[in-house]
Symmetry: C2
Subunit: 256 residues, 2 copies
């Protein structure tokens, strides 16, 4: 582990969210911290990048602390790209994203702006972790997660991660109960069953709001959803190679 590791902090709830402020305070104890995060909430942005419009990025001072901070008009993935190629004077030793207000377990990893920032760092070959707490409220209590955030970050700094692998860490919302421990998991098979809420605008034109219900389709006790439901912190290693290697042999037998 470098003596004074350089840590990039970002998120998808926006730079003023209590979740990222907690993450900054924990990282300030570990290394040299640069924050480069979206200027507005970016939940559900998936791995979007900004191709058709301009991006602003300004140095700001939002609160006391050793960290240096930048506020960016781009997506979480843009923020990581901007930090690495424009703002930082050396490659960061670690990228951390979050702490997200709400779950990124299971299939949510695919829609998550928080995880897209971590995955972007993984694409760049930099160890990265996305952190999320299963509490959507702005005033969620992040105090109980600090110690495990610190431990997991220190582990990654010391041991590294394989090329193209990042960690997806979710904390259950247990109020004041202590976590039962940290559990290494696989991503649960699940989906969202959409319920579009159809309304009519003042001009008489129909429009929709996207809403949905989370449906677990997996009873395994080795999944992140199981761990979280049972009071554990879930850690899923996530990789950027989306190839379904197990299906290549079968596909080779198809006749085109």
């Amino acid at each position: 582990m470098p003596e004074k590791p350089l840590i990039l902090v970002t998120n998808d709830d926006g730079i003023t969210a209590p979740g990222i402020r907690t993450l900054i305070s924990v990282m300030n104890e570990i290394g040299e911290v640069v924050v480069l995060a979206p200027d507005s909430p970016q939940s559900g942005m998936g791995h979007a990048i900004t191709l058709d419009s301009t991006i602003y990025c300004d140095k700001v001072t939002l609160e006391e602390g050793k960290q240096v901070e930048y506020r960016c008009s781009g997506t979480p993935a843009d923020c990581v790209k901007m930090a690495i190629s424009e703002v930082l004077d050396r490659r960061p030793d670690l990228v951390v994203s979050g702490i997200n207000h709400g779950s990124n377990s299971s299939i949510n990893v695919i829609y998550s702006g928080t995880m897209s920032a971590a995955i972007e760092a993984g694409i760049e070959g930099i160890p990265a972790i996305g952190f999320s707490l299963l509490d959507y409220s702005w005033n969620a209590n992040f105090e109980p997660v600090k110690e495990d955030v610190r431990k997991i970050a220190l582990n990654v700094l010391e041991r590294g991660l394989p090329d193209g692998v990042v960690l997806n860490v979710n904390f259950p919302n247990l109020d004041d109960e202590p976590f039962k421990g940290i559990k290494i998991c696989r991503q649960a098979r699940a989906n969202w069953v959409e319920e579009f809420d159809k309304r009519t605008n003042p001009q008489g034109k129909p429009y929709y709001w996207l809403t949905g219900k989370f449906v677990k389709m997996d009873n395994g006790e080795d999944t992140d959803v199981w761990a979280l439901e049972n009071g554990y912190v879930s850690v899923v290693p996530v990789h950027i190679d989306l190839t379904a290697h197990h299906f290549i042999q079968t596909l080779n037998s198809w006749e085109f």
Copy 2:
């Protein structure tokens, strides 16, 4: 294969793009076609979904043909959700996305709106294919790809795909040369090295455009990039389980 399969067609270049018009014409020969696609270009949208704003979806007639069409203000992933839960009266037998104007091979699969639509269908348990041609121009010649698009779609309709697996199909741009064949591949390891183009707006404030260079980091001859560079159509099976299963055992040995 159902006698008259129901096929949902979408894309990320917008409903009027020549790529999707080609895809519609091929699918009209195979089954009953419903088009539900973005009303404007959505390239680089990744797996974004619309949580904080409203979505419009209107029935339209854009050209002659058997297809029924809807134009939607949402992202490609929104379009698939909207079609399945609001518009279609039964589950589609196949979802096809594209034909994208430009490559979605290698790491581009993660940024791709085209592939996010196919992946969204995979999450819903519906067989799906994303098609892309390595030609970014609006007036790209899609004529040479039609026969293989048809063959691959018919194969998927007949044989199905495993749960949570979709296909990422890319066509090289060979002008009038015939393709060398269809090759089943894995996703090449590569990334984009960003070069932010920094400018100053009329008010004197700096802003950026995101640009970049594609860097291949993989010399394997079993990758999609290799296949495309050598005149083959690449087919990569892509799955929605992002777990890095190979790293779970090592992670279990870490001490937290």
